[in-house]
Amino acid sequence: MIEFKNVSKWYGNFQVLNNCTFSIQKGDVVVICGPSGSGKSTLVKTINALESIQQGEIIVDGIKLNDPQTNLPQLRARVGMVFQNFELFPHLNVIENLTLAQIKVLGRSKDQAITYGLKYLERVGLLSQKDKFPGQLSGGQQQRVAIARALSMDPIIMLFDEPTSALDPEMVGEVLDVIVKLAKEGMTMCVITHEMSFAKNLSKRVIFMDEGKIVEDCSKDKFFGNPDLLSARAKEFLSKILRNN
């Protein structure tokens, strides 16, 4: 469903993505990890063209991203994204946050949008908060609203960019639960995370990035179970992060 062919990107002279090739099939749950600055966030943001690329080709659901003919808003509407700092719109209340893009981009009627919005709000367990403003919710609640906002668009894939790294530790669990539940229901997704136990629990496949390159793209069993088969960089990263946990 998503295909990356030799994708490279530079910021000035600095190469953030170096010849990345991989693909994601329908129903895949892929965890992307790697040290900070390795380019994983940039990689994920190229999937919905929030970051442009200079070389290579990205195809999402049969549509070429670097084709100037591509209607980016329409494509982005089908790719759900959850950000590190939630990025709810602070001037809109919860239900308005959920319905804005449904009405303006998908062209749903207001009633229809509210129905969808409430359905997903219930799934993340926040129906009672529908009239609150983001500033009145806890970080964990805001992130769950952000997940519901993305789901209300009926996405073909969900992208998570370190969804729990800005949260207080006691709120991490509630957000991870929602994501795991989604994965079990068969949602295609791509998750950047440093929570290794969560990663083990969530996915069958791990992509490890370092200095803009995809260093490992393997099954979770290989990644976590057979460190001896991994590259030196991945081994070092794993041992560091597991020691810290």
Binding site: N48, E87, H91, L100, G135, A150
Partner: protein, 236 residues
Amino acid sequence: MHYTFNWSFFFKSIGGKETYLTWLVTAWEWTLTISFFGFLVAFILGAIVGIFRTTNNKYLVTFGNIWTEIFRNIPLLVQIFLWYHVIPHFIPIINKAPRIVLVVMAIGLFTSSRVSENFKSGIQSLSIAQKHAGLALGLNTLQLYWYALLPQAIRIIIPTLTSEAMNIIKNSSVAFAISIAELTMFAMQAQEETARGIEIYLVVSVLYFISAFAVNLISQFIEHKIKIPNQTFVKQ
């Protein structure tokens, strides 16, 4: 220093039923009219130009920058003379417009450069991730600005917009230069005719003060109306 106040001249006729007092009231109306429409022009153009300057389109950015530099770096009084003497020479239809339109345009464009700065920095103070969040939902550029960025930016810049509105009331005094009968023109002429400068300047100054104070009240009302519970728009 010895000065005896005398206020009775305010009721002296200046022809027909008109007195200095009625003249004063008309002058105040002129000041408020110029200020209101001047701010309207400044707000609309300043918002558009300010938004241009935050886009990724280099032509729009350059256009916005040139606009801002031109109207910021020529004194308001000179801009009023440009509208009065120079522009009609190139666009003859301007000659038919009432002089107040010239002043409104001059003040509006002058202030639009400052308003554009406000909008630009207001929008740029929002985090890039907010922009990404809007785009990720599929909003196009216009929708992104209208539904996601501007409602936040406007709340941030209300205090600076308020001081621009108060500046406009003060700057409207420059309209005296092309003899529009607003408060400052009234002050100068009535002072000359009656030689009661102190009384006249006092009253006029108080009216300017009241006008600015009223703007402040209105802005506080608006700020309160659109306030969002528990929200500070801080860049993360």
